[in-house]
Amino acid sequence: MTVLTMPAQPSQDTALRPVPWRRMVWVTWRQHRPTLISVPVVLGAVAVFLLIAGLKIHHDYAVLTTACHSPSSNACGNLNSAFNSTDWTIGNTLNILMQFVPVLIGAFAGAPVLARELETGTYRYAWTQGFGRTRWTVAKLVLIGVTVTAAAGAFSQVFTWFYRPFLAQEDLTVLNATVFDTRGISFAAWTLAAFAIGVFFGMLFRRIVPAMAVTLGVYLGLALATWGLRAHYPVALVSNNPGIGGLDSFNVHDPWILSTWFTGAGGKPANQSVVNQVFALFPHNGAPRVKETLAQAFAQHGITEWWRYIPVSRFWPMQFIEAGWLLVLSVLLMAATVWLVRRRAA
């Protein structure tokens, strides 16, 4: 007699079933819980500090502006120096630290995502499961990327409120290099870009520490280059209205002057020696030697002063331009990362 042993019929649980994308939500959450929790929690804690410190600063600023209705008063002077020494120290320090928040997220949350898998060898497990490594990578990048970007975006809104009193008080406008990228949507975009840079170099180097170092360097280089790049965003205007560049006192609505030049009769470039003569009438220190304004003095010589400038009202178009190219850069870096995952395995 022969006994036939048949393999057990696969139960319902073992039959092939689809693995929808949402399964990666649990996977990503479980594997990257420290990152997904710590980034929002740390930013949230700092945001609470900003709210508490901000209430005091807003209060100080309100008292200051009331007292300075008569600018020459002793009270105004005292409050001014107090505000500039204590409140501005906090504000300025935090603004400098703000510049590094995206790159810290990029280095600590972005670089290890894939580099850790490659460093510890667990990619050999992850990439041989039925889900497939392309979908696995895309799901992780999107989920972690969206989380840190959203957290950074919300955080920058709190910082924007916190920082508002300093704009008028410290001769700043929203177009200042270090103010512009802490507000609007650009802070979130920089965070996403830093994350994408971190992830990309993590995959390229397959080592966490080198990837973190290079992320730091590349991000800072990019940020500094962007300070120069913003002047070339296609939003600048040209005007010969003396109201643009001829103001003596500072105002938060002052445009960002990119360049200035002079024309003479018929729109030809002005004679530089004549321009210098006119400027000599308005010494930097001391009263002008003539009754006229600078613009009137130039007009008398048939010279017009021109300005190429970006008005403060162009803040949002500039924000969209900056966030736009950062988003494109981030998507390209993530696509390159996925390509590396598909290509450069083992």
């Binding site: 393999p7 649980d13 996977v27 479980r30 497990y125 039925g130 395995a345």
Partner: protein
């Protein structure tokens, strides 16, 4: 069906070929042992079979013609890489849930029952498990995927003798119960000699011999005779390895049907002798005048 089929398969890292001209067909239903010294190209061959590495030359298909790394291949092959990588900060239970979430097929009941049997607590972090338990965890997760082919890269290297026995018992049970085919690599043949029924020998990135163990043992013989006749004898036979001890020569030859010269004694070979002969042969100290035959076609071997 061939669970793994390669044709002219090669992989180059920089200027070094980790694997060259590998043509191989492993039929289903075997426990195939992939043996060779460290750096022989075993891991490279396995990585290309599971789609982790892209071949520089040639092709690799799995499970009867599926492209390595394709969806069907990922669904049907479970791979446990060297040192059984698990996420050290995840608990055994989390690893189980993770694997379930990442696969189209997963037998949770089997996995739980097996971990229970092994005494691996679900709450314990994978990194805190012993080496043997980590290997068993990785193997359990792989088997719970109900694969048709199980690929294990040096699974026994880190285990003590008792853990090796337990590990192999799990593998053999799965083979008996589910008919899963197994490809297992090792740099030590001894631990596989009793269980493997298919053998693939790699050395220095080249395939030396491949075939069913019974066929290999039937076709290979050890001839002992006068050293003076060794050269003329070797010209007519397919000699894998030749050894001389003063007046006597020992030739390990392939081909059971070839006529034995008069005055020569015939012995059967053990698997160990056969593997060692193939590993020593290429580029080894070759006795002058002896043509050393190396086979790269598995069909030639099993003929």
């Amino acid at each position: 069906m061939n669970v793994i089929e390669t044709s002219g398969l090669g992989k180059r890292y920089g200027h070094t070929w980790a694997l060259r001209e590998c043509t191989l067909a492993v039929p289903a239903g075997h426990l195939a042992a992939l043996v060779g010294p460290n750096g022989a190209g075993k891991t490279t061959l396995m990585n290309m079979s599971v789609g982790l590495a892209v071949p520089t030359a040639g092709t690799a298909t799995v499970l009867g013609g599926q492209r390595a790394g394709s969806q069907a291949a990922l669904d049907g092959i479970a791979f446990v890489a060297q040192d059984a990588p698990v996420y050290k900060n995840l608990s055994a239970g989390d690893m189980l849930h993770l694997t379930r979430n990442l696969n189209r097929r997963f037998d949770r009941r089997y996995a739980r029952a097996r971990l229970d049997e092994l005494g691996i607590p679900l709450k314990k972090k994978a990194g805190k498990l012993s080496g043997g338990q980590q290997a068993q965890l990785a193997l359990t997760l792989a088997l719970a995927r109900r694969p048709r082919l199980l690929i294990l890269d040096e699974p026994l290297a880190m285990l003590d003798p008792l853990a090796r026995q337990d590990f192999m018992a799990t593998v053999l049970t799965a083979m008996a119960d589910d008919g899963v085919s197994v490809l297992l690599s090792s740099h030590a043949l001894a631990e596989l000699e009793r269980v493997a029924d298919y053998l693939i020998v790699l050395s220095r990135g080249e395939l030396q011999v491949a075939g069913e163990v019974d066929d290999l043992l039937a076709t290979h013989r050890l001839l002992t005779g006068p050293a003076a006749e060794a050269d003329s004898c070797a010209r007519r036979l397919r000699v894998i390895e030749a050894k001389r001890a003063q007046a006597q020569a020992h030739l390990l030859v392939n081909g059971a049907a070839d006529p034995v010269p008069p005055g020569w004694e015939v012995h059967s070979v053990t698997l160990q002798e056969l593997v060692m002969a193939y590993l020593r042969a290429p580029g080894g100290a070759e006795p002058p005048g002896l043509s050393l035959v190396r086979l790269t076609e598995p069909s030639e071997v099993s003929r």
